[in-house]
């Protein structure tokens, strides 16, 4: 347990959530800024293949934010600072938003809005099958991310639904791994981080003394239990 300091309490109460939001919007702002620079003929990060740059940047961001979502619970466990759980849902939602932008960019810049072409890709190309499956599984989590939906579903059902983040993260990492040419390190690093984050949960589950009888969880499930999107 961390020492309760008034400053930390103030931060958790007033600053943590808005600052998280700003941090989560920054990558998008960066993309917008690069396009604004390019349109004005100024030096920018887009390089000579702006479509490829945009896909990669949005995809990397989605995957990394997804991993960050999964890192919140272990961080809470390690620091004992539970206010962290209050930013978990918005981080998960940001992962969904960047995933949606990633797919929109692909639909627009590569497929010129052809949905049949997208469907053909999904069926034909394994890495796109995995990526789209991950995105499809994120949809119910995004739709149920409001307080109202938690109440309506009930805490236990909501929590179980949001365990979908585990297969989503695995599919996301596989999407990246099967996309790159050759044997590249970056997807393996993402895979190792995911393995550590999931391994932590297995370890915690194994180490926890099992209650004699199953208890219904109480309270706000978005503030306890597994990561929610």
């Amino acid at each position: 347990m961390v020492n309760r300091s008034p400053a930390l309490d103030t931060f958790a109460r007033h600053w943590m959530k808005p600052l998280t939001l700003v941090g989560l919007i920054l990558p998008f702002a960066y993309v917008v800024a690069q396009f604004a620079l390019a349109l004005n003929g100024l030096p920018n990060a887009l390089g000579f293949n702006p479509a490829e740059w945009t896909h990669r940047f949005l995809g990397d961001t989605a995957l990394r934010i997804l991993l960050l979502t999964l890192a919140i619970t272990p961080l809470r466990d390690l620091t004992g600072w539970s206010p962290l759980l209050r930013i978990r849902r918005r981080i998960g939602l940001a992962a969904f938003a960047y995933g949606a932008l990633h797919i929109l960019a692909y639909l627009w810049l590569d497929l010129l809005w052809s949905l049949p072409a997208l469907w053909e890709d999904v069926l034909k190309r394994t890495y796109i099958t995995f990526g789209m499956a991950a995105f499809a599984l994120m949809l119910p989590l995004a739709f149920t991310s409001t307080n109202g939906m938690i109440r309506r579903l009930g805490a236990l059902a909501w929590r179980r639904l949001h365990w979908l983040i585990y297969p989503i993260a695995v599919l996301g990492v596989l999407h990246h791994l099967f996309m790159v040419k050759g044997n590249q390190p970056e997807p393996l690093v993402h895979g190792a981080i995911l393995a550590a984050l999931l391994g932590w949960r297995v370890y915690r589950w194994l180490a926890k003394p099992k209650p004699a009888r199953k208890r219904e969880p109480t309270g706000d499930p978005a503030r306890s239990g597994p990561a929610g999107v």
Binding site: F35, G41, L46, F48, E52, R125, M179, Q184
Partner: protein, 326 residues
């Protein structure tokens, strides 16, 4: 904190003579002396001291050729800063950032296998710098983008003629330089280094195959494969091997790096073919890169069979099923 102070007398890293050269100094000095004698005597310089070769970026004299794609040429900056050269990293911007570390002088190309003139050659032994020509080819990358680039070189056939392959030679194998100290990308086994490529001998002898030493009228910069690379314009870009240090004539089909990495995705031939998709993406069209600003976002063209060089190369593949021999 401990730190190293550079005294006025201390040599900076790149001023230190590399150990192999230091150990070899007597032979090098003797060879230089012998070469000098040879020059004075007016002897043929075939295996003597290499004549001076333009450094990367230096202007080259080349005559225009009939090989000229009509579409707009990519900007020189695009062609020299958006590269795949995985020995320097897998990002397109890695080669221009790191390839400058690669020493290209001196450079020796080892020729071996089924030929009458095996041995160690300088680039100037293989390429006649008095006969350079400029050819504007479209480079079609397997990643479904293309750039139109003015290359400078000599027909590969003229190089092969000098090396006199025997009647047993059916293929030519090539190998890229491998140096762990100057190539940050080879620390990770992205591919099984060194990079190797190969062509059938008749493909290598085709009029289009260019032994390339320059682009945009200048000697190749390192990121584009200095000092010597191949350009095979009807094949995907990875067949056009960079920074060649070995040429071997063989009677059997040589291994090639991408085929070893993933045989289902990359065949030995790898001819540009809009009808045969890469398993992970369509090859029917390509992004046209190298225009200014955001043009790369929208510029697309339909990919041509053999990258538009059907007339010159279709006879090479008569009777072959190109969906099978991809």
């Amino acid at each position: 904190m401990e730190y190293k102070r550079n005294r006025t007398w201390s040599a900076l890293g790149d001023e230190v003579t590399p150990e192999p050269i230091f150990r070899d100094r007597r032979r090098i000095i003797a060879a230089a002396g012998a070469a000098g004698v040879g020059l004075i005597a007016g002897a043929g310089a075939a295996h003597a001291a290499p004549t001076a070769r333009p450094v990367p970026g230096a202007a080259l004299k080349a005559t225009a050729s009939k090989y000229k794609v009509a579409d707009p040429v990519a900007s020189e900056e695009a062609a020299t800063s958006y590269n795949n050269f995985y020995e320097f990293g897998t990002n397109k911007s890695d080669p221009v950032r790191y390839a400058g570390l690669m020493k290209v002088d001196p450079w020796t190309v080892t020729v071996e296998g089924e030929c009458e003139k095996p041995g160690a050659y300088a680039v100037t032994d293989l390429v006649d710098y008095g006969k350079l020509e400029e050819r504007i080819y479209r480079l079609r990358c397997v990643e479904a983008w293309s750039m139109v680039i003015p290359w400078v070189g000599v027909p590969m056939a003229s190089v092969i003629d000098k090396l006199k392959p025997t009647s047993k030679a059916k293929y030519v194998a090539f190998e890229t330089h491998l140096d762990r100290t100057s190539m940050p990308g080879v620390r990770f086994p992205v591919l099984d280094w060194p990079y190797v490529e190969g062509l059938r001998l008749d493909e290598a002898m085709n009029e289009l195959t260019l032994m390339t030493v320059g682009l945009y009228g200048k000697a190749l910069p390192q990121q584009n494969g200095a000092p010597l690379r191949l350009i095979v314009p009807w094949k995907y870009g990875f067949k056009s091997i960079k920074s060649v240090v070995k040429i071997r004539f063989t009677d059997t089909q040589p291994p090639t790096s991408w085929n070893l990495s993933n045989a289902r995705e990359y065949g030995f031939y790898s001819n540009v073919n809009p009808e045969v998709d890469h398993p992970r993406w369509s090859q029917a069209s390509e992004r046209v890169l190298g225009g200014g600003g955001l043009s790369g976002l929208i510029s697309r063209r339909k990919t041509d069979m053999f990258n538009g060089y059907t007339k010159q190369v279709e006879k090479l593949y008569a009777g072959m099923d190109l969906a099978k021999d991809y």
